[in-house]
Symmetry: C2
Subunit: 392 residues, 2 copies
């Protein structure tokens, strides 16, 4: 959807005109009251779930959670996924032309915040003529957006599901983001953020930096335990067995160290390199900077001298918060801070701490205790909608 | 000290001739029985403690622990610090000329392991005519060397102090090492590891990669708690107050976000960049690869099907192990694995888990519970030496 009114941003800048890529699932009811907005984290998009024509397997990032009969049941809810401004999956971002200059934004794309995204999402809802959301839902950075919805547009949100999230980033979180950004920015192919094809110059993707950024990300998404379980100290050459090794591969006896500083020796190295290579092919470097900065900047308590309880006083939604025990990037303690601040304001809040081994990644994985919790929350929301509709 | 006999390495390669830089403190007694070998981790050297001529402040890395009247008292012990092979502080390393080729080693420097280092250290002791060590002592990777001493030369080690260490690296540890290595190796200035001045070509230090490597390191040396306490979400511009800001600096009102993706915004970013810049000036990139690989490869249980108890059966030394509660790089659980394996063999082992907020860095910091423990252990060793000397 194209928006031609400028969007003022928290930085003081504005975006003159922009597109938002979005997808919807299910049917908006006559009362226009069953809409659920689902918000994405760093490396995801408006494509939440389901199959495009010709696909056999969904590449929607929350396909296990959203669909007909699934915990967020698209037979009952009208679900909206929207790609955020500055991202690289269809909405206006750094790889597009700045209408003010006629040149590709690159690193001149304005810094966007969680609050700016929520404003843009609200305009999308206006355009879709949806006044009130049955729910907002998101994990990680998506959870921050869900929380921010309840503060920026309290009257428009009935329920908020805030999963594996935090009221702000810790110093350690910012530190990991900063290392990833430095890896990207100091890659010579980054060219100050103006690496796109323009003026007869070919694109030079800063793939070295993106690979490092993604490798760091993957380490922090997993728990130490699950890494040990999945990879441990397994050597890569342990897989290069008779018949299993591709022709001409660098075969060595299974289980022997090869004594190399630059080649892959351990399985975990192979996994990280693969993830880094894959990511560097499709992700935009400026988007990486923008989205990690949105994470860094989010801090609703900041305007209240760090007092989260006062910051959340505006929220009127009913809340479900979920955290995962081995998530060290957005640890349970961070979710509990939000729960406490909401309880200080006597809000309706449920909280579940799921004992899961998978670290931060757990919010994207199937765990019946987790998915059933989301399912039953949406059942409650559906029945409230039905009884609420009677009154309207 | 120069060694002209080739040193055979675990990789099958050998180093034909080499130098080891070392320093000694205190006096070797007549029985030659009061020697303590202190082993360094990634970014340290043979210079453990004390002042060089003209210095007012020691830049020895363990000056708080070692010296006259200090926990490891150089009035009673003859303390030896040795720079490991492959390092960049004086011993033969990748920046030196390979006598076999007449060319600088660069990335052709052979892969060295903890076991190889211990072999080289043993030859140094031979040259110093020290048959038996009163103690070996090290933290982190230095602790791995201390442990390995008790396995490779059990008859030459009376006591081992293994601090903030582990019987091997976890997958997560290897992963962090690998990201750091990839950052270095993919820096164009690394030039495949042959970046030194040679053949009329100027040196091109891969500083971008070294900076990233060091930033990652610093994050993992600190605890989340101490990072929050030291830096939290403090903005850098909070320091740029009237008078405190240098002339012409990019001043903004204290406490305001500047909304930038590439400039420093938070104190933690400033700290990490500073640490990265400093490190990139003096540390050698090939050394970084070699030393992190030595960490990755260390795994004494490997030859025993992963059974650490069987692996440690050879050790006869008396042990003190120390870990720190918030050390997530070498967590207390890893030290307890060593303790358990030693107890399985009915060895004399003491273990202390120090409740310290500083993460892995704690092993280098002053904490009376920790330093007093080391002090009393060395007092015990000293009195054993005195009574033992009577028998000899």
């Amino acid at each position: 959807m194209h928006f031609s009114d400028p969007l003022p941003l928290r930085s003081g800048a504005s975006i003159r005109a922009y597109d938002l890529a979005y997808e919807t699932y299910g049917t908006l009811n006559a009362e226009r009251s069953n809409a659920v907005l689902v918000l994405h984290a760093l490396n995801a998009s408006h494509h939440l779930a389901g199959l495009y024509a010709g696909q056999e397997k969904s590449d929607g990032w929350w396909d296990n959670m959203i669909g007909p009969g699934k915990p967020l049941d698209t037979d009952r809810f009208f679900v909206i996924g929207v790609n955020n401004l500055g991202s690289c999956f269809g909405s206006t971002g750094p790889m597009h032309v700045n209408p003010d200059t006629g040149r590709i934004y690159g690193s001149d794309f304005p810094v966007v915040t969680v609050e700016d995204w929520v404003d843009a999402q609200a305009r999308l809802l206006d355009a879709l003529q949806i006044e009130t959301l049955a729910a907002v839902m998101g994990g990680s950075l998506g959870g921050m957006q869900a929380l921010s919805w309840t503060l920026q547009y309290p009257q428009r949100v009935r329920n908020a599901l805030v999963i594996a999230s935090a009221p702000n980033l810790t110093a350690e979180n910012i530190a990991f983001n900063e290392v990833a950004r430095r890896a990207i920015v100091t890659d010579p192919d980054f060219r100050g953020g103006h690496f796109y094809a323009q003026d007869g110059r070919a694109e030079t993707k800063p793939k070295r930096g993106l690979r490092i950024a993604r490798m760091i990300g993957h380490i922090t998404y997993l728990s130490d335990d699950v890494m040990n379980e999945k990879f441990g100290r397994e050597l890569r050459n342990a897989l290069l067995r008779e018949g299993a090794a591709p022709e001409g591969s660098d075969r060595v006896p299974a289980g022997d160290y090869r004594y190399t500083t630059q080649d892959v020796e351990f399985q975990i190295e192979s996994y990280l390199r693969y993830q880094g290579d894959k990511f560097a092919e499709y992700f935009d470097a400026n988007t990486y900077l923008l989205i990690t900065r949105a994470l860094d900047y989010f801090d609703p308590a900041r305007a209240f001298d760090g007092n989260l309880s006062r910051a959340l006083a505006r929220a009127t939604a009913n809340f479900l918060l979920v955290s995962f025990t081995t998530d060290w990037r957005f640890s349970p303690g961070r979710s509990r801070e939000i729960v406490k601040a909401l309880l200080d304001n006597r809000r309706d809040v449920s909280y579940a701490e799921i004992d899961a081994p998978h670290g931060h990644d757990a919010f994207l994985l199937d765990d019946p205790r987790y998915t059933n919790l989301v399912r039953s929350r949406f059942e409650r929301i559906a029945s409230e909608l039905e009884s609420g509709a009677d009154h309207e």
